[in-house]
Amino acid sequence: MNKVLIRRFGRGVTKTLFLLFFVVLLAFPFYWMFIAAFKQNIDLYNVENNPFIFNLKPTLDHIKLLFTETRYVRWLGNTALVGALVVLITLLLSIPAAYALARLTGRWGERIGIGIFLTYLVPPTLLFIPLSRVIAILGLQDTIWSLVLVYPSVTIPFSIWLLMGFFKSIPRELEDAAMVDGLTRFGAFVKLVVPISLSGILTVVIFTFTLVTQEFVYALTFISPESNQMVGVGIPIFLVRGDVYFWGSLMAACLIASLPIAFLYNLFLDRFIAGFTVGAVKG
């Protein structure tokens, strides 16, 4: 047997082993959520039973409990509403801003762009305390409107970055031609640039929505009452009755909330990554 083939085979085996290890490590918790969500409690809380399989028939009880006896559906609704509103605000503010910055030649455009990127580095865990006071003063404490107000500050900077890169790749000549044909600069923007950038805008929509669903600190800080909470905070905080964890329903809740977001995010991953890397490594 020759060296090259052996080496290649060995490399393939190692690669597969590593891949297997990481896939298991990374995806296992979700499989675990799935199992717990459908396992009967007698099975679930029995240390003797093999935890990896269904020893008794799977059940829908946990899911039923989740949807009928908790505020889960309400949280999903809250999250969806806040998400939609924040997306709207973000689009309204970041699309024109990104366009103006993309077309602005010279040092100022760069400086403002970098400034915006730097604000992305100011974390919610720094701002949540003063903001909690501001929210209280504004009378928005305990309402979803506090989040509708604050979340765009998290989503706008990155959206501007994403869109800036996108707009920069549209040749100026296109707009020049439109203006020669009679459109004003703003008209060219609305009628020409925006329609072309639809996929970039869609990316921002998805990104903004996933950010809203992922957020934890602000929602935890600003909102106390159960019925007004978001799904990311409601599940860990309120699905625990006293010190008792209803693990079955808890896992079901996590799974149901995670998967659609995972799918969406995955579809647009390449764009997000480009946004991250363009941010620090100009392409």
Binding site: N2, K3, V4, L5
Partner: protein, 345 residues
Amino acid sequence: MAVVQTRNLTKIFKEGELGAVNNVDLETREGEFLVFLGPSGSGKTTLLRMIAGLETPTSGEILIGGKVVNNMTPRERRIAMVFQSYALYPHLTVYNNIAFPLKAQNVPKNVHKEKVEWAASLLGIQGLLKRKPRELSGGERQRVALARAIVREPSVFLLDEPLSNLDAKLRLSAREELERFHRRVGTTTIYVTHDQVEAMAMGDRIMVLNKGVVRQFATPKEVYDDPADTFVATFLGSPPMNLVENDDLIVGFRPEHFRLAEDVKEAKVPFKFKVENVEYLGAEFILSGLIMGGRLDGKKVVARLLLGHTYEVGATYDFAVPERQLKFFDRTTEKKTQARALAWA
């Protein structure tokens, strides 16, 4: 220095489709500058990469210096390769780029300096050793790539279209430098290109490839004056050879052999030529037009003529081709066939 041979070398990328390289046999001579010439997709680069060890053959053997190297890694084959993009390591200085092969083969460090400076001086880049690749011009990068290749004194050089990325003006001087380099160093070299001018100028022998098959493997003169088939006939020479169909034959003659009958002093075949377009290129004319009358009536042909006469569009002239410059190809196989005497009435 070694001889490269391939026996029945084949590379198939997709099952059931025609291979990128089909049953290629070749043998280089020691120290020769061999050119693989062909259009894109002809398999020339795949062939080179198999010799380098970057692609595994589907079948067939590759031998370097008489040893079968199919199962050897590129490192073990003692070959050096210059890529189209030069593939210089962007984060290393010129010095470290050239020294890298020495480092990789565990040559003791105190020897590095001497060898790098020797390679650098061979290519006249001693002054660039501290620079990084991004600070260099195209021509300088080529020289660094060559220095990196020569520093480990390989038995064979493989060059993959190294001049393609240079702009036209630079290409000529870079080409001359390569030729000078080869004369100086004398290593067996295989050079891949799609440019027939480069091939003719540089090659000791040219292997013409199309669709993974060798069409002809001969000296520039043979390939030009005695093409093995219509592909070779039209691929070499600019403008390409005129080819006209006649019964079961294809008749060919090069534009430079097609001129005024009165200027042809040897045995010739006459044609009436109606000029449709005249291009004046400063040192010569390129005329395109139609043959009038006779068996080849209406066929489009091109003539390449030195100055001396004037030609008018629309006028018909008495042209002729020297008999010995007529080439004949079989119409079905497109391969060279016996010269025949024909009646050209």
